[in-house]
Symmetry: none
Subunit: 200 residues, 4 copies
DNA sequence: CTCTAATCGAGACGGTACGTCGCGTCTTACG
DNA sequence: CGTAAGACGCGACGTACCGTCTCGATTAGAG
């Protein structure tokens, strides 16, 4: 025999429905306005949900954003950090850009919409946490600075990419990323002048 | 977006006193909490000023921050952009870090306190505006991306520097800046591996 | 306004158990707090019953109170009204007080606990209804006023009695009732001065 | 010379205006619905006042009712209690009914509208408090019971009077009051049977 | 050294959004 | 079918700040 509550963590269908509606509504609204100007009641109304139901699931708007983004961010971070360590950073960069390309719509909203600032903070915070637990490879730059520069650069570059109407291919962006952001952050060196131009 | 009375010439002594009190109070408070969590009434109370007096001088908290930071930011930007263009970027970087070192306390609050996010936004916005009016030098990277990466990198690096308890000398930071941020952003190239380490 | 299922005949044993638990819980709670501050969920919890179960049996807290008190009230009213009409009002009063004395605990809660106000309303309403259907004896006072005064007086006197730590005997209370409440309400006359004092 | 704040307690005109608007609105609404079903926001809206302004002046609806009724109640009580003590209770009763007649509209709302229950409670509470501080005249009935009966009776009688479409004259009501309520409560005696009928 | 007008503090006000509470209904799964 | 468990839509609650406003009192700074 098993426990009396039959599926111990199998969520009530209504719960899943409410959360999904809230997640979708937030993503919609973030395309139009910044997170801090979204009223929770409006969000709930758009989700077709009583506003108290919002609070039954999330304590704050940020928590809802987290519920949407946390996994994504963790995935991204797990692709981001190795970029600093691996010998072939170029391949790691390509893995990163391909991942984002595969989740284009979501990441476009997250990094160019009204939650961009919050997302950058979150990304940086998670990266720092993850980085602190890694073996710290010898590096020219202080570790924390390297992480900060890499994450900031990656975020700026991805945001720039996701804002494009006619986006560059992931491979080319990976090149950019490797040469203009990751390489310098990893090794603290500027490239020598006079190499061939990048760009479409 | 400074004072509502167009030319603040021939200022009443009371006006100057009120504004100064408000500026000082904001800087104090930013050391402890983020801009968005500072209530205007608390700010005014700490400044020893009626809360209506705040509104007589500034429409928003952001405007007050601007009044504090606008000149500083413009100065910083005027030192930042050339960094991307000048042949000896190393010298331009040194000018930048020396300037910040000379305003250490103020910039520490601005870039590491509760206004950091707002400041980054403002810096980036002003940089973009200024950059758009410059002659656009041939560059490997798209101009807007180069500016975004440079500004983000500079801000991160300065914030890292200003957070240090026992700060590096300006010259060494200028080195870092040149090699890990400015160079790559200007030329889109990572440094080759294997050069000498940086550090104190 | 009792149970939603029209005739509570052939009651399921579970139904009876639930209702009894709810009745007992309400009486307990009324000793401590006013009816309007008792949350239905708390009531159900104390009764060891799901809160939805409450609604299956009663539409409101008041309906539950009714289920507890309706018969009692009807009995009391059937003893109350004659008091105004019968020649020997003293005997009728004695019947009334003896009845209450026999149900002391229940009436103590009802008239001195958190339902006192509701109970008074209910008693008055039922009395009015019953009084309207009676033959209206010639009386000095307008009928509706006489009923109102008599009921209010009876209720106040009973409440006073039931609050006593060391209660008077029913016979003495019947005396009081007859002389200070029923007589005047029935005949609209104050007693002459100078008679013997009442009291234990 | 006098104090710097010219009128030390002369209230801000806006304050007086807001309170008056709230008082009027509450009285209006009490003619239609019970106090507990009046939402503070609706009350404020009807008063033409922001709902927060309500809270700036009163903590609860009951407090507003108090602000309206407290003086009136105190006045009424100061006329009510002597009724039990004075030799010519008839004259005291007349003073009482004349006072109510002079404030007809207000008392009609208070005792027959949605605040009737609250008002009765308040009247009884204040009466008890005042009575406790009086010299306790020798009486047939226990003091607390006498007060309870007198107040309950007065309230019922006034409510009955105020509900009349074509109200009896104050003098006749004073007669009723004296003979059916005050006399019995004061002396604990019913009037002898067989006297002349009262009525219009 | 006045006089007058700008500036001030104090704080009431109409609003908007907040997060909480309790309601009565509805859904799900058991026994 | 009655039940426990509990999510849900609803709507009032009381709070916190917002930005606007009026009110006298003060205090420059021009005459």
């Amino acid at each position: 025999m098993r426990s009396p509550s039959p599926p111990p963590l199998a969520e009530d269908a209504r719960v899943a429905r409410s959360r999904e509606a809230l997640r979708a509504a937030l993503l919609e609204m973030l395309e139009r306005e910044p997170l801090e100007r979204i009223a929770i009641r409006d969000l709930a109304r758009r989700a077709g949900v009583g506003h108290a139901t919002f609070y039954r699931h999330y304590p704050t708007k940020e928590a809802l954003l987290d519920d949407i983004a946390a996994d994504e961010i963790r995935r991204l971070v797990s692709l981001t950090l190795p970029v600093l360590d691996r010998a072939d950073s170029r391949a790691a960069c390509a893995a990163l850009t391909r991942y984002v390309a595969g989740r284009w719509q979501l990441w476009r909203v997250l990094l160019t919409g009204g939650a961009a600032a919050a997302l950058k903070e979150e990304l940086l915070a998670i990266s720092r946490r993850v980085a602190a637990e890694r073996p710290r490879p010898a590096r020219d730059l202080p570790e924390d600075l390297a992480v900060a520069l890499a994450v900031a650069g990656i975020v700026e570059l991805l945001a720039w990419w996701l804002r494009q109407e006619d986006p560059w291919p992931a491979e080319q962006v990976a090149d950019l990323l490797d040469r203009a952001v990751v390489g310098p952050a990893a090794r603290g060196r500027a490239p020598p002048r006079g190499e061939a131009a990048v760009g479409p």
